[in-house]
């Protein structure tokens, strides 16, 4: 029987404003990274998500240095990185992966260079690298919410062309879809997602939040709308649970979110293995019975 005290302890995180803000932010960011991540993994762009996170780190650091608004500075930096990647990737001799590698690493290096010049930045540097979700202010939460709504709106309005391009990029243009335009808008939405997630998860963990919920959802269904819904639910729940659990285990919230997502992935993987073995056993049983029936008939 649970004592009242134990129940009260369970609700403890909700008593503090910073924890409430952190849980809301993690739920929002978890859902939006998963939503964008569905297109990222199906388009095999996981590398760009990882790269953009590092690139935007540079923008965040420069924004801190010059006292510019963090969200605006990081967003502009991210958009500029996307523009440079798209321009470089269009040249056949360079290719997409090399373009991402060059642009994002250069942008990251700028951030490192700025930090090495102004050594007082150690704390901000760590915040950008590993996230600082417990330091989220009301204003940060409003901006994050606004960005999440904007990204959700972009996905809603571009749903059909995005699905088409993701499934059959080669043909989309012939069906009247401006592939370049849709890809550019999506890249900007991805950059905005990374900016929104930077304070919650930090540069080093964003890629995991973009990839794990969609991969788990993909393992569970063969329908795209269902995959999208499952990924968003997993992203939101693991975001919330990760921050909630971090209160009790006294571990970095961003890391806890990703560890919870990894645990969900491990569960889905184990379930998939069990299911496939069960299917194999059922097929063998059916085949045995069919063989028996044939021999009886003979």
């Amino acid at each position: 029987m649970w004592s009242l005290r134990r129940i009260a302890t369970m609700f403890e995180p909700f008593e503090f404003g910073f924890m409430q803000r952190a849980m809301i932010a993690a739920t929002l960011v978890g859902s939006v990274t998963a939503a964008v991540g569905v297109f990222v993994i199906l388009r095999r762009l996981a590398y760009i998500g990882h790269g953009l996170a590092h690139s935007i780190f540079g923008g965040a650091v420069v924004s801190f240095t010059i006292g510019f608004n963090f969200f605006l500075g990081a967003s502009i930096w991210g958009a500029f990185s996307v523009f440079l990647i798209n321009q470089a990737a269009r040249r056949r001799q360079i290719g997409g992966d090399a373009a991402i590698g060059i642009v994002t690493t250069a942008a990251f290096a700028i951030g490192i260079a700025v930090i090495s010049r102004a050594r007082s930045f150690t704390r901000d540097f760590e915040a950008a690298l590993f996230g600082e979700i417990l330091g989220i202010t009301n204003q940060d939460l409003y901006v994050t919410t606004g960005m999440v709504i904007l990204i959700a709106l972009v996905l809603f309005l571009l749903w059909k062309p995005l699905v088409f391009i993701t499934f059959d990029n080669d043909v989309a243009e012939s069906y009247g879809i401006s592939v370049r335009w849709v890809e550019s808008i999506f890249s900007l939405a991805l950059a905005a997602t990374v900016v929104a997630a930077l304070q919650v998860l930090g540069v080093t963990l964003i890629a995991a939040a973009l990839v794990i919920p969609p991969v788990v959802a993909r393992m569970l269904t063969d329908s795209f709308p269902r995959m999208f819904s499952i990924a968003v639910i997993i992203g939101a729940l693991t975001g919330f649970i990760g921050v909630y659990v971090s209160w009790f285990v006294d571990v970095s919230s961003g890391a806890t979110v990703v560890l919870v997502q990894s645990a969900v992935f491990a569960l889905a993987l184990s379930w998939g293995v069990v299911e496939s073995r069960r299917g194999l056993r059922a097929a063998r049983r059916t085949e045995r019975l069919a063989g028996l029936e044939r021999s009886l008939n003979d």
């Binding site: 199906l42 809603f156 749903w159 993701t166 059959d168 080669d170 063969d222 329908s223 795209f224």
Partner: protein, 280 residues
């Protein structure tokens, strides 16, 4: 500059086409009238897909005039190899992609659109597969799914890139019958094919590509000629005619007379008695 005539659907005149500044085809003069059924043949890399996609306005145009009659609704069926088979999508969802422009700002399709998709799938005999993931289908069923995506737009001009590649003889036969039925219903059909015997020889008009240009354009009896085919494929070809059927056979390089040294060059051979062909 002449403009496209009322009896023309497509007009390519003195066209040079390619990608990223590299010319793939030059001096192309092709006209297509409404209601035609045309096959584009040639070896790999001869520009079949480029010519087909020129009707979508995709390759870069370096010279000449390329026109498709205004208000022409074009349906395009790609080579199935270009598709990402890991994508979680059902047959009905693929078909509905073809009508993405309808209610384009909403993620979901209307009941009318779904009904239309089901009708097209039924027309192609795959309505019972509507809820199946596309990667679980056979090659022929996948091909028909992409045909459904093109047909949902009610196209006037249907373009198909290798619609019978990788399918068995029976499926090839069914696909060709479906294309012939669509053509009879007034849809202009243009397809590319590697299959000279099973597909090309049965079409009313062929365009043969080679040496970066159109080598021949006309009925199979004119296009499937040893000299044209040798220019196109860079290899001697034997053309055998049996009644209304035409067979093209490659002649090994080392065969006597392959290049007309000792024996007469390969040419059209008539076969009086031939086995019945009920497989095509």
């Amino acid at each position: 500059m002449a403009t496209i005539g009322v009896d023309q659907l497509v007009r390519l005149e003195g066209v040079a086409l390619g990608y990223e500044g590299v010319v793939a085809l030059r001096d192309v003069d092709v006209q297509i009238a409404p209601g035609e059924l045309i096959g584009i043949v040639g070896p790999s890399g001869s520009g079949k897909t480029t010519l087909l996609r020129s009707l979508l306005g995709e390759p870069e145009l370096y010279a000449g005039t390329a026109e498709v009659a205004s208000h022409t609704r074009v349906g395009y069926v790609p080579q199935v190899e270009t598709v990402d088979w890991n994508f979680p999508i059902t047959v009905e969802q693929v078909a509905l992609l073809g009508s993405w422009r309808t209610r384009r700002w909403l993620p979901w399709s209307s009941r009318a659109e779904r009904n239309r998709a089901r009708t097209v799938l039924a027309q192609l005999g795959i309505d019972d597969l509507a809820d199946r993931p596309i990667r679980a289908l056979s090659g022929g069923q996948q091909q028909r799914t992409f045909l459904a995506r093109a047909l949902i737009r009610s196209p006037d001009l249907l373009l198909l890139d290798e619609p019978t590649s990788g399918v068995d003889i029976k499926t090839r036969h069914e696909i060709l019958h479906q294309l012939a039925a669509l053509n009879s219903a007034g849809v202009t059909v243009v397809l590319t094919t590697h299959d000279l015997n099973g597909v090309a020889s049965h079409l009313p008009r062929l365009i043969a590509l080679g040496e970066q240009t159109v080598l021949a354009d006309g009925p199979p009896s004119e296009v499937l000629q040893p000299k044209i085919l040798e220019r196109a494929y860079g290899q001697p070809m034997l053309v055998v005619q049996s009644g209304h059927e035409t067979y093209v056979l490659p002649v090994p390089e080392e065969a006597p007379g392959a290049h007309g040294d000792d024996l007469p060059p390969p040419e059209v051979v008539s076969v009086v008695a031939a086995p019945d062909r009920d497989d095509v």
